[in-house]
Symmetry: C2
Subunit: 365 residues, 2 copies
């Protein structure tokens, strides 16, 4: 063996010793505590989607920092997984560990998922958080998702959604008849009951459709996201909301993934999701105010309108009729509806003497 070979061997031995010592330290020092868990999250949104996409990034960053790198969450946007509305199935099967989406997107698959985003004439964000965490909402959501190997958590609130952009004023229920409006989901069903022609149109075609009068109206979110769509340039009326008074997104977690995590990482993930949801509501509030002021400055003639009471009453009546149909067919649907309407009645008595009274007193000035 040459000197050089010998040196090399010694060096390698040192490497081995060092490595062994290193592994020993790791093993004695923190066994499970050093294992890195890498989770994959599929979000329904495109890459860097404003507000919604910030919520997933915020959640993942908190989880990684709090776990000192032991919990790493890779976020795949829709351009990567190509299945924006396949998130439920991909997390259920374990193809993804987590998802970020909206519960009501799955109503065609599991009807009772409808109730965990926002219901027409329902709770505001603060009221709905109180229902989720103190009024039985989380437990009911678990009943709906658990049979699908899934856990669902609040995933961020857009605040009260606006009623939408309209080319013409709505002065009576008659004005809704034949109205072509982009409004998907349950709210679309309600409008159809009143003779409107609801339709769904891909986001990229919304502006042109409204501009060329292919549709007469559309709803999107509210100032937080509507500004970049430019609707205020082509529609004079912006109606206040009724159909989604506190739209809450959702985090989905595959139960097998969850059960594999040590307890401290489960708590880190649980808290990171809850905080990211609250944080998104705070961000949506900020973006809404900021963008609304920008819109009004650029287009001061945009008119904010409330639907007249007769229209609201008709919408509410159609809503109640449709909900009753769901409740007739499904005992759990009935239970969830009752939980929500009982809770709303209780909490709104407070919101009325606090928020409504205060906001009205300040507006009178």
């Amino acid at each position: 063996m040459s000197l050089i070979q010998h040196s090399l061997k010694r060096v390698f031995k040192n490497v081995a010793v060092t490595a062994a010592a290193c592994f020993a330290l790791v093993a004695t020092g923190a066994t499970a505590a050093d294992k890195v868990y890498r989770l994959k999250l599929a979000e329904t949104w495109g890459p860097n989607f404003p507000v919604f996409g910030d919520a997933t990034k915020n959640m993942a960053a908190m989880a990684e920092k709090m776990s000192n790198g032991r919990l790493q969450i890779r976020i795949d946007s829709a351009n990567k997984h190509k299945a924006p509305l396949g998130v439920f199935d991909m997390v259920k099967s374990g193809q993804y560990d987590m998802g970020h989406s909206g519960s009501y997107y799955w109503k065609g698959k599991v009807p009772n998922t409808l109730y965990f985003t926002s219901m027409p004439f329902g709770m505001t964000p603060a009221e709905q958080y109180a229902w989720f965490y103190h009024g039985g909402g989380m437990e009911l959501m678990e009943q709906v998702y658990s049979p699908h190997n899934l856990m669902s958590f609040p995933g961020g609130n857009t605040d009260i959604q606006m009623g939408g952009w309209f080319q013409k004023e709505i002065n009576s229920v008659e004005d809704l008849k034949g109205l072509k409006m982009r409004i998907p989901g349950f709210a679309g069903e309600i409008l159809a009951e009143l003779g409107a022609k609801p339709t769904n149109i891909a986001p990229g075609e919304l502006y042109t459709s409204l501009e060329r009068r292919t549709i007469d109206a559309l709803e999107w979110v509210g100032p937080s996201l509507d500004l970049r769509m430019g609707f205020h340039k082509i529609a004079p009326y912006y109606y206040t909301g009724w159909h989604e008074p506190g739209s809450e997104l959702q985090f989905l977690v595959n139960k097998r993934t969850w059960n594999k995590l040590p307890e401290d990482l489960q708590e880190i993930l649980r808290v990171a999701m809850r905080t990211a949801a609250y944080d998104m509501y705070t961000q949506a509030t900020h973006e809404s105010g900021k963008n609304w002021v920008s819109m009004k400055t650029e287009y001061p003639d945009v008119q904010v309108k409330d639907f007249p009471p007769s229209v609201m009453a008709a919408l509410q009546e159609a809503n109640d009729r449709l909900l009753a149909k769901h409740a007739e067919k499904d005992a759990l649907a009935k239970e969830i509806q009752k939980s929500q309407s009982d809770y709303l009645q209780q909490v709104r008595s407070w919101t009325d003497i606090s928020h409504r009274a205060y906001l009205n007193s300040q507006a009178k000035k």
Copy 2:
């Protein structure tokens, strides 16, 4: 350089890399990562104080679970440390690592702490969170607290506080003259400007004072905490709020303690405090609704009243006059006031077309 020298160099480089990686693992995995940090928190409240005390327990439990026991926070209530209003000083000096209290309690000591709880005619909880986290509020709070070796964080919101319990109706500014009312702090100063006689009375004596007419009126919090005080049994009028539209408690942290914590525990503490604050707001919403329904069931004759516009205008005018005095004396006070009033104007434009419009549309039914 020979091939062998080159190989050796590469080997040594690998050793160095391995060793570096190893030390990194040792540092995170076994040494720092296993050290237990025990912090002491002094809260202004008595033991098991409802809602407020739940926020500190919730925060400490999250921190302990997420850190797998490495961050332990002992909570001392006022009965232990005997200095409910000494929390600022005890955390500043390092006698305690943390505190849970209210920023405006320190206005006699550091006048600009006034601005970080809730201001009369100011922001609602959601608006104020947006200001803290997106409108410059956290940075201004840091400017106020940093010279005192302290960090301050939002610590839980009681929601809009009610205007108080009154024995007689308030129909004009004239009715405020000579009115003996328990209302501490800045709101008390405002009432004094209008001829009322504000006073502070210990919580344990409030019921008797109002019952025996030693005072004509009092404000406490709102249904979430008023129910157990029993005021609804002895005062017929419950006025809606103006003076604290979103009272946010605070967590205080001694900066030296903070700097001793490793980065992962800093993030765990930061997130646990932020989440406990949001959670408390959710709990306060729930308790308010639940308790208000109980009160109304037991005492259906309690009358909810708004102060008439003339009284609100006079209160607002006195408020503006007092604030201007503060701003004249202190450049930072002026900057904070401007930040808050600019932000309020922006965000309220949104709250009005969302929350106010929606709540009014639902109340009309």
